[in-house]
């Protein structure tokens, strides 16, 4: 009975709770039911793109009365057909949306599109996995319909156009991107996809100059499924000569070309013209024959220096990409063919182009190409193939990158980024104007000091005697002590600025201070009191002639020590120099910036923690970026301060030398090579030590010890 008594109490206590819960469940149920009903209620179902076979996709019916997309606009350019306002909401990167995959059927329920091909699925997959992909069509700059238009043979032109026009965000095709590999059809093989598509952009293989809309369409390579089958084969691109000068490996060329080639072959046995084998085996795509001998298709490309690419039914030929894969330099003799990605790729470095009318000149032209050039082209062809042609994913991403470059031209990839292989050595110096810097600017003396005030003042008085000095900048590197009061500084007729640093770091001397308003910086230690005005002025003059180098006084050289297998720092009187110490040297302010922002590895912290080798680091930096040696000016001087001579010097010197050698080895290891260059000369005034009246020489106070 307890329970009976208890139950109502319990019920009473929990009733409001259950009521609320019940209501909540009811509402949830109603909402849930509505949400499940929603898609059937709305007119445009909001579906997300899911990479799947269309078998599982929802069905969409195309009615025969549906409107077609308007006819393709042949005069489209980026400026009159592309909507840039759709882009740029996502920072400076393209955004790409993919329509959901649908199964399109006609009124009778018969499919109007072929099943999605593997390659097209891969295109979609590449987009989906790229940084460009977005799921919100309103945020998309580029829209890609999930319609497989790769092979026009498989298309119903009318229905395809109807489907396009019926896409929810079609908007006359603006910013829609269509991929196509095989355009045209029998009998005239139009070089461009014949689906009416209004404003849509085509990324097509085999576009011709008269169908390609520059700045708008993208010419892509014809993807070769065969080379995909052989991609696991390791291909070695080496310098060894190949058996054939040129091979024509295609079996689908017109008999007129064949006749012409056969004729050429009579005279030039280095030409190999392959054909179908007899009896023909239509099931075999890789067998080729010549004179009763059988050749295996892709591997014959390995044995030929050049590969002839002629047009078949269409302009784009898989042979182009197959040849490049095997490092066989393509000779493209297809008039009017827009080479793949020619907007960004420099084909002159990859292929030889020949007019079809000049086919008879083929051998003559190829023989005029030097061996070096052949090697360069062979490597470049293979590189371009690997980088941009080797998979559907690469082709797709390259296409999107090209559009990205058009939309954001100021962030576009450069010619070098597109075309230079990563193994390219060489230098791209940031300072490359062929000029002698005008004298009018003068130079800024930057003096790094800690507490040697007396010597510092001496240096200041000395350097301001050079006529071209524009300003003196003292970098006060002592945090314990304040610089002396303004009144005690030497009175000079040039502006003098003092910068107080926050930390006693050697790198402070190379900081690109805003106070430095000239190109030329004279870095000078606070104990270099022995340079004459003539010497400084002459060094500045030399720097003006070589503004991209370090120009200065004390020089050093690095030597390879065979015993230790290491680099060694040498300060003795040598016939060579490879470094100029920045205790007294001119250099361009740009290098200050580079030193501060882009020293590789941990060189900067290494220098700051050891309080040494900042000058060696600077020499490495400049030599690495210019590929040039520094310039030493005027004869050797004693740079040691006279006061500093004492007994401890000798042992200190030994340690110092060892440390410096260690720096060189460390830096060489960080750079992965030894960038320093050694030279055997220095710069002197034209009439230096010449038998000529001293007073007629412009710089005569030079070389005094």
């Amino acid at each position: 009975m307890v329970s009976v008594r208890n139950a109502p109490r319990l019920t009473r206590r929990y009733t409001p709770f259950f009521n609320v819960l019940f209501c909540f469940i009811l509402v949830a149920l109603v909402l849930g039911g509505l949400s499940t009903l929603w898609p059937w209620n709305s007119e445009t179902p909001k579906r997300e793109f899911v990479l799947q076979s269309e078998e599982f996709a929802p069905v969409a019916t195309v009615l025969s009365t549906d409107a077609l997309a308007k006819s393709t606009k042949s005069s489209c350019t980026f400026y009159n057909c592309f909507d840039v306002y759709r882009c740029g909401q996502h920072g400076s990167s393209l955004t790409v949306y993919i329509y959901p995959i649908l199964r399109y059927v006609d009124e009778n329920g018969l499919p109007v599109m072929n099943a999605l091909s593997k390659e097209f699925m891969e295109i979609l997959e590449a987009i989906q996995e790229s940084k460009f992909y977005v799921t919100n069509p309103d945020k998309a700059c580029i829209l890609v319909p999930a319609l497989d238009l790769l092979n026009q043979n498989n298309l119903h032109l009318k229905e395809t156009s109807q489907i396009l026009a019926g896409l929810p965000y079609w908007n006359s095709g603006i910013n829609h991107l269509l991929f196509n590999m095989l355009p045209g059809n029998v009998p005239n093989y139009n070089p461009c996809l014949e689906v009416e598509r209004d404003n849509a952009i085509v990324a097509g293989a085999g576009l011709s100059t008269w169908t390609y809309r520059r700045t708008y369409d993208i010419s892509i390579p014809l993807f070769s499924p065969l080379s995909q089958d052989f991609q696991h084969e390791t291909i070695e691109i080496n310098e060894s000569p190949r058996k054939w000068l040129i091979v024509s490996p295609q079996i689908n060329i017109h008999s007129e070309y064949r006749e012409e080639l056969e004729e050429l072959k009579e005279e030039h046995p280095e030409l190999l013209v392959l054909d179908e084998c007899i009896p023909a085996k239509p099931d075999n795509a890789t067998e080729r024959c010549h004179d009763g001998e059988t050749y295996f298709y892709p591997s014959i490309l390995k044995n030929s220096t050049f590969c002839l690419v002629l047009q078949g039914a269409r302009l784009a030929q898989a042979t182009l990409s197959d040849a490049m894969m095997y490092g066989c330099i393509p000779v493209v003799a297809i008039d009017g063919y827009v080479l793949p990605f020619s907007e960004v790729l420099d084909w002159k470095r990859v292929a030889v182009r020949l007019r079809e009318d000049h086919l008879h000149d083929l051998i003559h032209i190829l023989k005029s190409i030097s061996e070096h050039r052949i090697l360069e082209m062979r490597k470049q062809a293979h590189f371009i193939w690997t980088q941009y042609f080797s998979s559907i994913q690469k082709i797709t991403l390259t296409t999107l990158q090209i559009i990205n470059d058009r939309v954001f031209p100021h962030f576009a990839r450069t010619y070098e980024e597109w075309n230079d292989p990563p193994w390219k050595e060489g230098t791209t110096p940031p300072l490359n104007l062929p000029v002698i810097v005008p004298k009018s600017q003068g130079f800024t003396a930057v003096i790094l000091t800690y507490d040697r005030v007396e010597s510092l003042f001496k240096v200041i008085r000395r350097v301001v005697q050079a006529p071209s000095i524009a300003k003196v900048l003292v970098v006060w590197n002592n945090q314990q002590k304040h610089p002396p009061p303004a009144t005690s500084w030497p009175k000079i007729n040039k502006p003098l600025k003092v910068v107080q640093t926050k930390e006693n770091k050697l790198s402070n001397r190379f900081y690109p201070y805003d106070e430095i308003e000239t190109e030329a910086v004279l870095a000078i230690d606070d104990d270099i009191v022995m340079l004459t005005a003539d010497e400084l002025e002459f060094a500045y003059e030399v720097w003006r002639e070589f503004p991209d180098r370090i120009v200065g006084f004390p020089s050093r050289v690095h030597l390879w020590d065979n015993n230790t297998g290491k680099w060694k720092y040498e300060s003795e009187w040598t016939n060579e120099i490879s470094m100029v110490l920045t205790g007294a040297a001119f250099y361009h302010k740009y290098y200050s910036y580079l030193y501060t922002t882009s020293l590789p590895g941990d060189i900067k912290t290494w220098v700051d923690s050891r309080m040494n080798c900042e000058d060696i680091a600077m020499n490495f930096l400049v030599a690495n970026i210019t590929g040039k040696a520094p310039i030493k000016v005027t004869p050797r001087k004693k740079f040691k301060c006279p006061e500093c001579t004492n007994v401890e010097m000798l042992s200190a010197d030994v340690i110092h030398m060892a440390e410096r050698s260690e720096c060189i080895n460390k830096f060489a290891q960080v750079y992965g090579k030894m960038p320093l260059k050694t030279v055997e000369f220095r710069a002197d005034p034209v009439l230096y030590k010449d038998n000529f009246p001293e007073k007629l020489k412009r710089f005569n106070n030079i070389g005094s010890l």
């Binding site: 849930g32 030889v352 002459f538």
Partner: protein
């Protein structure tokens, strides 16, 4: 019981809800699973084509020959390309340009173009040799309201152009086309299959790889030479007062007005200065809008040139036409052009990478321009600005450069397999100075080896110019051969025999370890010492006079210096030039001075490419001047090299005075050095050269390169080049 029912209901509802959510998740997961499945099984999915089909896709019906002919026939003015509208047969021998005889009066600008072509190495007077034809009808200005407009051009064309053939292989130059109000890009007559080198072309009207887009240049643009870029400081960071400037006309209405009318929106009177005026044309007062008055006031406060020099970026918007003078002006001033001209086919865009020197923006996105230019990194700004100067000096600073660039672009299309690469076009010294026929690999040229990461060949070929017979083993020629041969870097010695008598037999020469060849040039001229010779396989040439006294040490040292500066002349005796204010002409001097600008090529190292340039690039008048005087070839070589490098030559240490007395067998040969006539001749040469080059290319240097320990107070035993000092000054 009621409670139990409720519990039950709650339980069921919960279960249902759980199912719903779980089911949903499950479905979603299912989608994911499908993707994964696809990845696993995609190799089973059908490819877009059958591989066999791909390699057999053959069109056996259409004859390729007929197809080409058909395309050629059907090509009209709009679709011309080199394949269809150009007769390559005419260019089979050489790239030559023919100009029709002049009948009408032509504008000074067009006159400049014609005379540049006439003076160029491409000119021919024989139409049957010509690859390209140039009309002597002035087509530069096709604005029919302009005073230079040529009327009845169709009739004149018909009368004059004998070889017109629907324009095939003809090139027309045009700066202005169309007029108010629509400025159509039409020359007012049917150009047929002629190429058009036109300013302000649009992407849609331009026939790629057929037409050439040229820059709009003013009437007073110098014919030759041209000013250097006015960038005086290559400072970093680029610290100009203004970030972005524009001063120019504003169109109140009509084509192109939209962009210029909205420019003021980005003006902020701080670092972005946009000043416009409506004052142009006759009837501006009638058309003016409410902003005109204030605009004009502001406009008059600013100086165009100063503004450009003090700004980092200059807006180059479209005018009525797409291009404007401003483009070249900004380029020269080193003010990075910010292009606001949608659809403009940029000048020489086929070969020039404008992204390296300009910022391309979209008229539609004008308001983003300030953000865009501010977002560009300091280093990129510096690089862009530097490159404006390179491009200006390579291709735009004179009418000659513009015309030659146009012709070289067409030439590169014809000789595709020896065409210059994009890299060459876009780097110093540019494509005009890099003759691709010399070599198809860049490492053979003196300019780009550092960039390519290649090195120079480590030896040299000596060319000795000889006229005097060898009398004895102690003659100066024998001594010279011995000294050269002792150098470990010498790979060959060539004696260029230019004497009156038959060349000496080889047995007369000293026996040395390197091969010695005697060459008899086909023409006995002094220029033959610079003739490119197949035997020269090294990058370096040491050119020598027979009477030069040089030790092996001197040769070795100079060669080592040359390897650091292979693009320059490196040698011993130097000369100088100076400007004579009183006579207002350039003077030549052989006095000892603190500066020099010429290194005599009687003893100098230089790159063998300069021999090629000397022979095939230089104007024939220059060659004639040298040949007639049998003198000045060294000055000309210095002109050429400085013209290319824009830098001075390099003088190295020399042991003793050069050629003071040449006494042989007791008999004195005339020493040209002391001959006053010789000197006057050189003076005259200099004047001629400056005239032909259009400017003075020589540049002065004030330094000499010595061995590191030269005359240092250290034991001579330590010095590698000690003999350089021993006999010094004698």
């Amino acid at each position: 019981m009621k409670a139990k029912k409720r519990y039950f209901l709650v339980l069921i509802s919960c279960a249902f809800l759980l199912l719903c959510y779980f089911g949903g998740y499950h479905l979603l997961k299912n989608g994911d699973k499908k993707t994964k499945d696809f990845k696993l099984t995609k190799h089973k999915v059908r490819g877009y084509l059958d591989t066999r089909e791909l390699y057999r896709d053959k069109d056996s019906t259409t004859s390729s020959r007929l197809r080409r002919e058909e395309r050629r026939r059907s090509s009209d003015t709009l679709t011309c390309s080199m394949d269809t509208c150009f007769d390559f047969f005419r260019c089979r021998n050489d790239f030559k340009v023919y100009i029709y005889p002049t009948k009408d009066s032509i504008s000074p600008a067009y006159q400049k173009i014609l005379s540049i072509i006439q003076e160029s190495r491409f000119y021919t007077e024989d139409p049957s040799q010509a690859c390209l034809f140039v009309l002597s009808l002035d087509t530069l200005d096709r604005d029919h309201l302009s005073p230079d407009y040529v009327k009845n051009i169709k009739l004149k064309l018909y009368q004059q152009a004998k070889y017109w053939d629907n324009g095939r292989n003809h090139i027309l130059f045009n700066l202005y086309s169309g007029t108010w109000p629509d400025y159509v890009e039409d020359l007012g007559f049917n150009v047929g299959q002629a190429m058009v080198a036109k300013a302000s072309t649009s992407v849609s009207k331009f026939r790629p790889n057929f037409d050439v887009s040229i820059p709009l240049f003013p009437k007073h643009h110098p014919k030759k030479g041209g000013e250097r870029g006015t960038l005086t400081s290559n400072n970093f960071p680029v610290n100009k007062r203004y970030t972005l400037v524009f001063k120019g006309k504003r169109y109140v209405h009509g084509i192109g007005s939209e962009t210029r009318n909205s420019l003021h929106h980005i003006h902020n009177n701080k670092d972005i200065i946009i000043v416009t005026t409506c004052r142009h044309g006759k009837s501006w007062k009638q058309m003016k809008d409410e902003r005109c008055e204030t605009d004009n006031k502001e406009y008059d406060r600013w100086d165009y040139q100063l503004m450009m020099e003090n700004a980092t970026f200059c807006i180059v918007p479209r005018g009525r036409r797409l291009g404007s003078f401003r483009f070249l002006e900004a380029l020269q001033a080193g003010c990075i052009p910010v292009l606001l001209s949608n659809g403009w086919e940029l000048p020489f865009g086929e070969v020039i990478d404008w992204g390296k020197a300009t910022v391309c923006t979209d008229e539609r996105l004008l308001l983003q321009v300030p953000d865009v230019v501010r977002s560009i990194s300091k280093t990129r700004v510096h690089a862009l600005r530097q490159h404006t100067q390179v491009l200006w000096e390579n291709y735009f600073s004179s009418v000659e450069k513009i015309v030659m660039t146009t012709l070289e672009i067409i030439k590169d299309r014809i000789n595709y397999h020896v065409a210059r690469s994009y890299f060459v076009w876009n780097s110093h010294p540019g494509a005009l100075l890099l003759l691709p026929q010399f070599s198809d690999v860049l490492r053979d040229f003196p300019f780009h080896w550092r960039h390519l990461g290649t090195s120079l060949k480590s030896n040299f070929t000596a060319i000795i110019y000889a006229t005097m017979p060898i009398a004895s083993a102690s003659s100066s020629l024998s001594r010279l051969i011995k000294n050269v041969a002792k150098s470990s870097f010498a790979s060959r010695i060539m004696v260029l025999w230019n004497g009156e008598t038959a060349p000496p037999v080889v047995s007369k020469f000293p026996q040395v370890a390197v091969p010695v060849n005697i060459i008899q040039p086909p023409q006995k001229t002094i220029s033959s010492r610079f003739h490119p010779h197949l035997l020269v396989q090294t990058d370096a040439i040491l050119n020598l006079d027979e009477d030069v006294v040089l030790s092996t040490e001197e040769i070795d040292f100079a060669f080592k210096v040359w390897r650091s500066y292979p693009e320059r002349i490196v040698g011993y005796p130097a000369r100088s030039h100076y400007w004579d204010e009183s006579k207002s002409c350039w003077r030549y001097t052989s006095k000892w001075t603190n500066e020099y600008s010429i290194i005599l090529t009687g003893a100098a190292f230089y790159h063998r490419y300069y021999n090629y340039l000397y022979t095939y690039y230089l104007h024939s008048v220059l060659h004639k001047t040298v040949d007639q005087s049998q003198n000045c070839e060294d000055i000309l070589m210095n002109f050429l090299v400085s013209h290319v490098t824009k830098l001075p030559p390099i003088k190295v240490t020399q042991r003793k005075n050069y050629k003071e007395n040449v006494a042989m067998d007791g008999k004195m040969y005339p020493i040209p050095w002391n001959d006053p006539d010789h000197f006057i001749q050189r003076q005259a040469c200099m004047t001629t050269f400056v005239e032909i080059f259009g400017y003075m290319p020589l540049i002065r240097s004030s330094l000499r390169l010595d061995p590191v320990l030269f005359k240092d107070p250290v034991s001579n035993l330590r010095k590698r080049y000690r003999k350089l000092e021993l006999e010094g000054g004698k």
